[in-house]
């Protein structure tokens, strides 16, 4: 043990090697949540920023009409093309990762500031219900398609 100590203090690379290989982490909830925040975050950088760029930078948000959404997600009751399936998958992954990432972030913040735990659990329970409800609705509309039949006169073209 003492020989590795002296090697570690003399060699930072060896110290890192020992540190990484001598600790066996258990897959607790907090560890999985911590890792999820890193990996989902790195994926979301690309997905969320590309979505933002597409909607707000390379296109004006003022040009957004229901027709644009129909072109991307398809209309309800119509057969979807490959392109539409691509956008559905893209938005489903973006929505799912962003919602779980956000819910876990909210959990950490609430845990830090709501020291009266019943308040924490109440707030967390309500937020989880809301986020699950909204996420399921959002995923549903992706795969159901836009209900173009119910639209007003705005959809022409």
């Amino acid at each position: 043990m003492s020989s590795t100590d002296s090697v570690a203090t003399n060699n930072p690379q060896m110290a890192r090697h020992i540190a990484r290989n001598s600790i066996k982490p258990r897959n607790t909830f907090e560890r999985v949540a911590w890792l999820f925040m890193r990996y989902s975050g790195l994926v979301l950088v690309f997905l969320a920023l590309s979505h933002w760029g597409l909607q707000h930078v390379f296109n004006s948000v003022h040009d957004l009409t229901l027709q644009v959404t129909i072109d991307r997600w398809g209309a309800a009751g119509q057969v979807a093309t490959i392109q539409i399936w691509f956008w559905r998958a893209y938005y489903a992954v973006l929505l799912g990762l962003a919602m779980i990432h956000g819910l876990n972030g909210l959990r950490q913040v609430l845990w830090d500031y709501f020291h009266y735990r019943p308040l924490y659990w109440g707030f967390m329970g309500l937020s989880t219900l809301l986020i699950v409800f909204v996420s399921v609705s959002g995923i549903a509309v992706l795969f159901l398609g836009v209900n173009a039949a119910a639209a007003g006169a705005a959809v022409i073209r």
Binding site: V45, H56, G105, V109, V134, G138, L144, N147, A150
Partner: protein, 140 residues
């Protein structure tokens, strides 16, 4: 409420410098983005479940008030993305902790480089939509 007051007071007193301010801003921007995300996904889900309300909400998002809020959202989103990458890299590469302040400065500079043109382009789009083509170079 007492906890919130103590949290704010101690956050202002604690001399954590850049790292502490970025940590606080990361939390605030994350909560802001989550708040918008829930409204946005709910609004988009109405494209199937209630199209007239969906179209009303889209029209609301094009009003000047929301165009200004949108600029703040752009800055928060870009900051959260860049700072999140900084946090992930520092967690995975502890040897970089020695250069904390340099890394902090780099993350703020990258945020500014990405956010500045984004916000300028969005302002031009909004001016075009509200007052006609004031800047045809970027507009249609």
């Amino acid at each position: 409420m007492g906890t919130l007051f103590i949290t704010v007071r101690e956050a202002l007193r604690y001399k954590g410098r850049e790292g502490q301010w970025l940590w606080a801003l990361h939390r605030i921007s994350g909560l802001g983005i989550l708040f918008y995300l829930i409204i946005h996904v709910y609004d988009m889900s109405l494209a199937y479940f209630n199209v007239p309300v969906h179209e009303e909400m889209i029209a609301l998002f094009k009003t000047p008030l929301f165009s200004v809020l949108e600029l703040a959202l752009a800055a928060l989103l870009i900051f959260h993305a860049v700072n999140g990458v900084r946090v992930a890299i520092l967690d995975l590469r502890p040897e970089m902790w020695a250069n904390q302040q340099k890394v902090t400065r780099i993350s703020l500079i990258v945020t500014a480089i990405l956010a500045a043109p984004t916000i300028v382009i969005m302002i031009i789009y909004t001016l075009n939509a509200n007052f006609g083509p004031v800047a045809s170079a970027v507009g249609r």
